[in-house]
Amino acid sequence: MEEAAAHKRYVEVLLVEDNPADARLAKEVFRDVNSSVRLHFASDGLIAMAFLKREGIYADAPRPDLILLDLNMPKMDGRAVLARIKEDDDLKIIPTVVLSSSEADADVLISYRLRANCYLRKPAQWDEFDHIIRCINAFWLSKIRLPRQLEVPA
């Protein structure tokens, strides 16, 4: 007896990534692996914050169910975004996965310090990148229970 599928129609994923190639690749992978994912892009931290805060042209932006966050970005980098997200009472419950090419352990530490839900190293090879997106999908969008956006109890 199968229960009716996901409560929401779409899973909204915000990808904060300044490299358009990576962004594009992510889009393709998600499309392939999970048709109910709606991918949104922010190419820098400022745009990301505007999107999350639903400011200006993002007034009608949906609330993401998952945030994939690159660290090194122009204007406002990922660490600042992460900090801001996890400080905001409303935004902090959105699982934020850091996806960064940085090899530095310090970055890993900072991210966890700033309460990132997890840290993934962005692979250089595109097939590995493909794989990691799939893993993210497999774990975060299939197994994980994400907090439902509509009814948030006090």
Binding site: M1, E2, E3, A4, A5, H7
Partner: protein, 838 residues
């Protein structure tokens, strides 16, 4: 008095003269001023003109010079550029000259000078042109030679002379104008000043005249006033005599308080009118008033005794003395009259008679013997007798009972007392007409002193109409009272003061009072709050409005019984018109039972809600908590199966297999139970939903089994309905899933459609080509955990359709099936259209 008048007249004349003089002066001054303005206007124009002319002359001179000077440069240098100025001057000089001609058009001397200038200009131009040619061709020397001659200089000198003369002339004219203008202004100034002074003088004279005349007049007036005053006081002192003056034709010229007293008219009302207005119509017709005056005029004095008519129409007798007054010349100037009202005398009878006749009611005067001594025309009419038929008759003939007796003295009281007792009160009796027919009357008695002793005047009023009305009203009241009594609710009628004026037996019972205890009581005593206030007018609304607001609506209040206990009531008000104003009828219903029922209902609903919740919780907790141990059992038996399969004996394998199977089934059952209970507990509000989208979602979830079975699912356009989207998807999923599952050997073909039914409902049908269902099971299949097949044949717990049924019922519809074994099934259910607003 006339002296004052004369003076007054004189003064008036003086003032008028003064005004006339002042006016004349003003006009003259105004005229001069205006003229001056015109004049000064003109002179300023002339000044302008002269200036223009002078300017022009100057420019002309300059141009002339330029003709020469411009040439010089050229002669010396031979450069054409030096000729520019020359050329410009040459172009402009003639226009200038013509303009000058225009400017001096009115002056012949100037004109001839301008003409002369023209000639000179022409000459010069000729010469200069010649020189230019010389220069061009012959060089400087040639040109110089051409210039050197006497004529050139002469031209210049002549030109200058003429210009000078013209200028002089212009200046002269200017000076002349100025002088003229000044003299004009001066003249006007003189006139203005003179005029003003004159005006002032006139005003002073007039003023003095007025004052002088005024003083004189005042003195005269004062004297007159004093004598008038004395005279008036005399006249006013007389209250009971009318003293008045008439004109020769009888027009009323004065009035005094006595006259007002006697006739009832104020001075304002009679001033100017003829005194004949106070005469009876007959006398007026016969010319009596004029006769009186004539006689008075003839004899100098005339005494008259006669009837007059007051303002209110009543007649009275007067004796008047009229004297004629004449001028010094012996002309009749009017009459003086003194009159006395004779009512106090024996002529009062006549007066009284007059009064009676005029009365609207029948009046009968009866003597102590009970005989009618006087009656009026109304009495004649009422009783249908002629006057002479009644006079002298016993009053008992027309009022058989109740009147005469009242007047009789008996041992208990004297006549006077007897009479005194009846005075004023309206007594209802029966009267007899001439034809012996009876009619109800009300009589009011009053005494009348006369020479023959005390008489009794009876005013008799026919009250048949009133009696009818009263009877009718009594009937109505009786009916109403009957209604009131018959009403099942307590009825209380309240007046505007909030007092109970009427109540019925129910009211007595409900409130535990006796009728008398409530009548006249304030309604507040039985309905402490909410009633009396509602009837009160306040600043915002009148009584009528206040009442109107309450009519019809049922108001819930509290009533208080005699024993002090309170109970809930519902009040319905309605107005009742009566002689005593608007009354309020209130129907009072004891709603204790109703209130109890309401409370009970609320309680029950609360209970129901709670129990529902508990049930939901129970179902959830049960399945949830059951799942835990079950999970252990299932998991470990599976682990056992995995790890030890084949490692123990075959029995163990079998046992384990059964255990695993049992556990799994139980898990599934519990999950299904959970699903079933969630239809209610996790159900969302019904709202506009696209059933098409819900259907797509279901298909998406089933894509696995659709692919596997190769099922063909088709559908028609599906409408928007009021639904819980998730549950609708679940519904479709179950039905289509079943259709795919319960297939024979062929390819499952499923078709879903919807048809509008009855305007606001959609009938959905899911048709398949499966194995079909026997009619006897049509109801059973929708039961919980009901299966028609063995587990080996078809998987499933049998909850699918039960869930479908629950979902459809939650949406306010019913689910049904039509089927034949081997021929597929059609499941149908109804959902509300999203547009319907029920």
């Amino acid at each position: 008095m006339s002296r004052a008048m004369t003076t007054q007249w004189q003064t008036n004349r003086n003032i008028t003269a003064a005004f006339a003089a002042a006016l004349a002066i003003l006009i003259v001054v105004g005229g001069f001023s205006y003229r001056n303005i015109l004049v000064s206007d003109e002179s300023s124009k002339w000044v302008e003109h002269t200036r223009d002319t002078l300017k022009n002359i100057q420019m002309l001179r300059l141009s002339m010079e330029t003709l020469s000077s411009g040439l010089r440069g050229y002669i010396i240098s031979g450069r054409e550029a030096y000729l520019d100025n020359y050329k410009a001057a040459k172009q402009g000089i003639e226009p200038l000259r013509l303009a000058l001609l225009d400017l001096t058009a009115d002056n012949p001397a100037q004109q001839s000078r301008v003409a002369a200038l023209g000639g000179l200009i022409v000459e010069r131009l000729e010469r200069t042109e010649r020189v230019i040619v010389l220069r061009r061709n012959g060089g400087m020397d040639a040109a110089v030679a051409g210039v050197r001659d006497e004529r050139g200089e002469a031209i210049t000198n002549e030109f200058q002379a003429i210009v000078l003369a013209m200028q002089k002339e212009e200046y002269r004219l200017l000076a002349l104008r100025k002088a003229e203008s000044i003299s004009d202004v001066t003249r006007t100034k003189i006139i203005l000043i003179a005029g003003t002074l004159l005006g002032l003088l006139v005003t002073c004279v007039a003023g003095w005249s007025v004052l002088h005349g005024s003083a004189q007049r005042q003195a005269a007036e004062l004297a007159t006033l004093e004598s008038e005053e004395r005279y008036r006081r005399l006249i006013d002192g007389v209250q009971d005599h009318a003293i008045y003056m008439l004109g020769p034709a009888g027009e009323i010229r004065s009035w005094n308080p006595g006259a007002k007293q006697i006739t009832g008219c104020t001075w304002e009302e009679v001033a100017g009118q003829n005194f004949s207005r106070f005469f009876p119509p007959d006398d007026i017709k016969s010319g009596r008033p004029q006769e009186i005056l004539r006689l008075a005029a003839e004899n100098g004095l005339y005494e008259d005794q006669g009837v007059r008519v007051r303002k209110d129409g009543t007649r009275f007798l007067i004796r008047s003395t009229i004297t004629a007054s004449r001028t010094a010349a012996g002309e009749l100037s009017g009459f003086n009259a003194i009159s006395r009202d004779l009512s106090g005398t024996k002529e009062s009878e006549a007066k009284y008679r007059g009064l009676m006749e005029a009365a609207p009611d029948a009046m009968v005067v009866v003597n102590q013997g009970g005989e009618i001594v006087l009656l009026n025309v109304q009495a004649e009419k009422q009783f249908d007798y002629r006057r002479d038929e009644l006079l002298g008759q016993k009053v008992t003939n027309i009022i058989p009972e109740g009147f005469a007796e009242r007047l009789i003295a008996d041992d208990l009281r004297s006549e006077k007392d007897a009479l005194a007792q009846q005075i004023g009160t309206g007594i209802e009796l029966i009267a007899l007409r001439k034809d012996k027919s009876e009619f109800p009357i009300e009589i009011m008695l009053s005494p009348l002193e006369s020479a023959e002793g005390t008489l009794v005047t009876a005013a008799i009023r026919n009250i048949s109409v009133r009696k009818e009305a009263e009877k009718f009203l009594a009937q109505m009241e009786g009916k109403y009272r009957g209604l009131l009594e018959a009403a099942p609710d307590a009825m209380v009628v309240v007046n505007q003061a909030g007092e109970i004026v009427l109540l019925n037996i129910q009211a007595e019972k409900q409130f535990g009072y006796r009728r008398n205890e409530l009548l006249g009581q304030k309604v507040k005593n039985i309905i402490p709050e909410g009633f009396a206030e509602r009837l009160v007018a306040d600043g915002l609304r009148s009584k009528a409005d206040a009442l109107a607001q309450q009519i019809g609506t049922g108001i819930e209040l509290h009533g208080r019984r005699k024993d002090g206990s309170e109970f809930p009531i519902e009040l319905m008000l309605s107005p009742l018109a009566s002689d005593n104003g608007i009354l309020v009828t209130s129907a009072i219903r004891d709603i204790t039972k109703r209130k109890k029922a309401e409370v009970h209902l609320m309680q029950k609903m609360d209970e129901l809600n709670r129990s529902n919740e508990e049930l939901g919780q129970f179902a959830y907790i049960a399945s949830h908590d059951l799942q835990e141990p079950l999970r252990m059992v299932a998991s470990y038996t599976q682990l056992l199966a995995r790890r030890y399969k084949g490692k123990l004996d075959s029995d163990a394998d079998e046992f384990i297999a059964f255990a695993v199977d049992g556990a799994s089934r139980m898990q599934r059952l519990i999950q299904d139970l959970l699903l079933y209970s969630r239809v209610q507990t996790k159900g969302m509000e019904l709202r506009e939903t696209s059933s098409e989208e819900a259907f797509e979602r279901a298909l998406q979830n089933l894509r696995g089994s659709i692919q596997e079975s190769g099922a063909v699912v088709t559908h028609e356009a599906l409408p928007n309905v009021q639904a819980d989207e998730m549950q609708l998807a679940q519904l479709f999923q179950n039905l289509v899933g079943n259709a795919i599952k319960y297939q024979g050997s062929g390819i499952p073909k499923i078709h879903v459609s919807a048809k509008m039914n009855g305007g606001n409902k959609w009938m959905f049908s899911v048709k398949d080509n499966g194995i079909g269902i026997d009619a006897q099971y049509f109801d059973k299949i929708f039961g919980m955990f009901q299966r028609l097949h063995k587990r080996e044949e078809f998987a499933g717990t049998g909850i699918g359709l039960a869930i479908c049924k629950k979902i459809v019922e939650r949406h306010g519809g019913n689910i049904a099936v039509e089927s034949q074994p081997g021929h597929g099934s059609t499941f149908s259910f109804a959902l509300e259209d999203s547009q319907s607003t029920t």
